[in-house]
Subunit: 344 residues, 2 copies
């Protein structure tokens, strides 16, 4: 492996580091009147539009493990996590701020690698990096981002808007990021025992990719706009499908019924779950970090998405007293349980 | 001392904690269409106004020391640091997001204490807490906030707007927060040697207060608006007066001349510096965390603030080739040096 150059942050100082970072920022939106470089960024507003604001914090040892998460991917993924929240409101991401806490293990090159990922994501999602904060950290790496998006006021989609008999839809497939994580954890253990072992990841490329470099589903948001469709409620799947169904039900004051045999699970997720003697439906329902979208639509909109290759209808909303249930493959109705992710 | 109740965060869970926090949030602005509780907050926009966005991250062991920083004050101060950035753009703060990384030392009561300070500040500064993220941290406490403010597009004040011969003004006094920190550090050492010693802080109440619970100078921003005055350039003093003068000069492509005998230094700061055998001007020029405002005004605006009890004119801007200089008390002209705060 090529020896990477290592420049200590102390040798260029905080302002030197900020200058390096700022040099890579590219402004793509006319509404970004002032980006990095003053006490605050300045954003112009558009009549009839509202601003969406969301924030996420990622901490080393809690949300990511640098032993298998490349820094470029980490930067990209941190942006994705934030973009996904704007997508879930039916909005378009516009600007983002980036705050980094850096341990003294981190070199200037490491920070540049994180920013390489951040800027790549900013380009892909058409986002302007407008500011942030860079500070030393006594603990590990921490990344805190705040994203700003835009939406037409009458097209913002809340978690609370689902109506009785609306259809529940999921984009892409679920459980993949979770199974990818299991592979990465297993290879890490193998590596600990024998550091000469090369990780065998090719066979699992798709699910490992879903863990390391997920994409926010802005593509679906744009498609729904093209179809003139506004979901009645929406949420992104970060904590696991079941947990997100619970959120939609709670805020829309409804129950839900889903079908086990409708859960969108990829072949690789299915096979990997088998390899781990795990029920793939458990990964699909309770695995986190898919960053797919869960949304409800009116029955009359069904035909618009019926043949969409990447949207699956998994069930429907019903009265709250009917509960949150799943019809299993053998036609039994069981209560859904939301395990979610417990960090504490 | 009364024994405080201690509830483990694990016993109420992440969602339980979020519910507790959200219960204290109060919405004061009509433009806050949706606060805590969805994937993103929704903010309405106002014609002719721009949005200001700034973010700051505070880390235990780097930016604060919990051995003398009460959690309520810490929450308040974190908001102040952010409000100060909006003030420095001549804007009005409106919304804020709050992300907390919590070590397992932190109880539910500790988190509530931080939020007590945050909500008190939100009330004083008329800010809506619209969202955030709460996560476990393997290291110490971390606080990351992003503030959103509003300003008329033609009244935003940048660091870059100063013109030759503009007058340099400072609000309040400088160096106090730094001297307050010296007192707190000294009492901490005394306490280490003899834990039965009670800290003697009464005599230093004002400067210790400036360190523990500074106020952002929104009062001055409102007064300048009442006076129909828009500064030509402005920055808040977080890293030390000299360092901020350097920023204004760099971005406005000018030099500056200040007078040592004009530096606004409080009597308590002066006396405490003497006690530490320290030059009070060094504290004034290089001590950080004052959160006062440094701004430039046109000569013709001088009479509007000439008799203001809390604004001091300390010098003027001149051509870049004249440098960044200070005329000392004994009439010698010396080069200003910006030490600032180096965290790395």
């Amino acid at each position: 492996m090529e020896e990477l150059k290592r420049t200590e942050i102390g040798s260029i100082g905080e302002f030197g580091l900020i200058d390096k970072i700022a040099a890579g920022a590219m402004i793509q939106h006319q509404t970004t009147l002032k980006g990095i470089g003053d006490d605050a960024a300045v954003i112009g507003t558009t009549a009839g539009k509202v601003m969406l604001v969301s924030t996420d914090m990622l901490l080393e040892g809690i949300h990511f493990d640098l032993s298998y998460m490349p820094l470029v991917h980490l930067g990209y993924k941190a942006v994705t996590v934030n973009v996904s929240d704007i997508a879930a409101m039916n909005g378009i991401p516009k600007q983002i701020t980036v705050s980094l806490g850096l341990s003294n293990r981190m070199s200037v090159e490491a920070v540049e690698a994180i920013y390489e990922g951040i800027y790549a994501a900013a380009k892909d999602y058409k986002l302007d990096v407008i500011g942030g904060d860079t500070t030393a950290s006594r603990a590990g790496l921490m990344i805190s981002m705040t994203i700003i998006g835009e939406a037409s006021e009458d097209q913002v989609v809340y978690r609370s808007g689902a109506k009785n008999s609306d259809i529940l839809c999921v984009t892409g497939d679920v459980g993949s990021a979770y199974m990818g994580l299991q592979i990465l954890e297993r290879e890490k253990e193998v590596f600990k025992v024998d550091p000469n072992m090369q990780p065998q990841l090719d066979k699992y490329a798709a699910i490992v990719g879903r863990q390391l470099r997920p994409m926010a589903r802005m593509d679906v948001i744009y498609e729904l706009m093209d179809l003139n469709m506004v979901p009645t409620a929406m949420i992104d799947i970060s904590d696991g499908l079941a947990s997100e169904i619970f959120h939609l039900c709670k805020q829309s004051q409804l129950g839900a019924c889903i079908y086990e045999d409708k859960l969108p699970i990829s072949e690789q997720t299915f096979e990997t779950a088998a390899e781990f003697s795990m029920d793939p439906n458990t990964a699909a329902l309770n695995g986190g970090e898919d960053y797919e979208l869960l949304f409800t639509i009116r029955q009359e909109d069904f035909e618009k998405i019926e043949h969409h290759h990447d949207i699956t209808t998994i069930g429907y909303m019903h009265p709250p007293e009917s509960g949150k249930v799943m019809v299993t493959t053998n036609k039994t109705t069981v209560a859904l349980t939301a395990q979610g992710w417990i960090h504490f």
